[in-house]
Subunit: 319 residues, 2 copies
Amino acid sequence: MRFASCFVLVALVFGSVLPARAADPPQWALALHGGAGTISRDMDPALVASYRASLGAGLETGKKILARGGTSLEAVEAVVRFFEDDSLFNAGRGAVYTHEGTHELDAAIMDGSTLACGAVAAVTTVRNPVTLARLVMQKSRHVFLVGAGAESFGRSAGVDFVDPHYFDTRHRWEQLQKALEKDEYGTVGCVALDRHGNLAAATSTGGLTNKRFGRVGDVPILGAGTYANNRSCAVSGTGIGEQFIRHTVARDVAALMEYKGLGLEEAATLVVFTKLERGDGGLVAVSRTGEIAMVFNSTGMYRAAADSRGRSEVAIWEE
Amino acid sequence: MRFASCFVLVALVFGSVLPARAADPPQWALALHGGAGTISRDMDPALVASYRASLGAGLETGKKILARGGTSLEAVEAVVRFFEDDSLFNAGRGAVYTHEGTHELDAAIMDGSTLACGAVAAVTTVRNPVTLARLVMQKSRHVFLVGAGAESFGRSAGVDFVDPHYFDTRHRWEQLQKALEKDEYGTVGCVALDRHGNLAAATSTGGLTNKRFGRVGDVPILGAGTYANNRSCAVSGTGIGEQFIRHTVARDVAALMEYKGLGLEEAATLVVFTKLERGDGGLVAVSRTGEIAMVFNSTGMYRAAADSRGRSEVAIWEE
C-alpha cells in the first residue's frame, strides 16, 4: 500500500513532465461536426474528398490553438469561423436559402467555466455569426439578440459585415429549388476541453432550406443545440431543430452526467437513441475529463475529433 | 399486514368515488405568477388590492377549467390570456416599452404529455401571444417563430390582431422614462396538472423595459423560462431572463427530479437559491403528483395556487 501511495505521489508531481500514458486523461480534446442527415454513400468521391479535407483543416485550426495552451472558447470560435467561411457547410458563406430566397443565420457560444453564453438569430449581413454571438456574450448585458437588433448591436461592437449576396452560392440555390419538395438542414459546431480544464461549445447554421415565418431552430437555444458546463460536458448538436428544442438535447446529456452519474458516451447515446427519433440527427460532445462522443441516428454526420494523446480522425458515415 | 393490504386495495378501488383525504394526491393542481422582483411592501394598498383581485380572478379562470375535467393545456393558456388582457401585468396589454418606445412580446407553451411546444418572440400586433405560441405548437411544423414571420404565420392561422397602440398604457410609459435609469421586468405564467394526469406550462411577457437590439429573454426559450414533462413537473419562471437561460432553470428543476430523485420543493429551492443569484427572480411549478412549489429569491412574487383538495391562495410577499 505504501509503495502504491508513493507511486501515485511521484506520478502526480511528475505528471506534467512525463510523457502521457494511455490511461492518463487527455490534456485537451476537441470534436466538431459539419451537419448530420441523409448523406448518400454514393456521393461523388471528389465531393467526399472536399468534405474530408475541409473537416481536417477545421480540426487542425482547433488543434493548434489547444496544443499551444489556448482556451477552449478561442478554439470553438475559430473552428466554427473556419466553417462559416467555407461554402461547403450550411453556416456563414454556405448558408441555405429561406423560402423568400434570402439568408437568415443563427449561432450560439457558451463558456463552461462561467456559464456565460451568447446567441443570435435571423441575422442577414454578419459574416461570422459565431463571433457576433461571442460579442453578445462578452460585450452586452444580454444573452440572445435577434434580427435587425442583433445586427445593430454588431455594428456598435465592431463585427465584420458583408453584402447579403455574399451568402448566395449556386449549390444552395439549386437546393432551394429542390427543397420546394423536401427540406434539407445542416449545421456546424465544435466542442473543446482546454489545458486549463475549461469546456466550451459553439454552433452556427443557416437554418432550414426553404424555412418561413422567422423560424428559429435549436442552434441559438442554449440547452437545445449548444451547451457547456465544466461540471459535466460541452455539447453541439445538429439535426431537426424542433426535436432538439423539445428534448432540451444538449442540456439533457449534461444533466444525465451531472445528476445521474452516466458517462459521456452513455448519456449521449441514451439521448440520441431513446429520446430523439431515428433520422433526427446527432451531436458531438467532450467531457470534463476529455472523453469524446460523436453520436448520430441519421445515415451520416460530417465530423472530426482530436486530443492531446494523438487521436486525430475525420469521418462521415459509420465506419 | 394483511389488513393493511386489504385497506390499500379498497382505497384503490373506491378512491375515485370516496371524498378526498388529506393524504390523497390532488386530482388537479394549478399555480400561477404575475412576475417577481423588487416589490415594495409600502405599495399603495389600493394597488395591492387590485393585484390580489386580478391574481384571484386568474386563479378562478384556471380552477373552473380543471375542476370540470378540462386539460392542463387549456387551463394554462386561458390563465395566461386572462393576464395578457389585464394591463396590470407585463404581458399582452400591459407590456413594457422597448428603448425605442415600442412593444415586443414573447410567449411559450409546452404540453408535458407529448413534449409538444411552441414559442414566439418579438411580436408587436398580436393580442394574445400565448395563443399564437399554441398555434405554432399545433398548426406549424416549427417550435419557435420570431418577429414579422411569426405575425405572418399568425395571420394564416387566424389569431386576433390589435393596433400596436393597444399596448400603450400610461403607467408603462412612465416606467420607461424612469427605466432610462433602472431596468424593470415582469412576466406572467401558469402551470397545471389536470385530472387526466397531464402537465402543461405557459409563460408570456413584454420583456425588459427599455430593452434594445432585439433582446429576447428566457420566456420563449423552452427549458429556460418554460418547461413541462409528465415524467417530472411543469415550470414557469420569472426574473432576469439571461440568468434563467444560462442556468436552463425550468429544465434543471425537472432534471433534478427525473435524474436525481429530488422532490419538487427541494429541486425548485436548490435551483432558485444555489444556481440563481439573490434578486434574480423565482418560479412556480407543479409536479406529476400535484405538489405545488412557488419559490423566489427576490423581495416578492405575484402568485396564486389552488388544487382539488381545496387549496386556494393568493400572495405577493413571503407571509
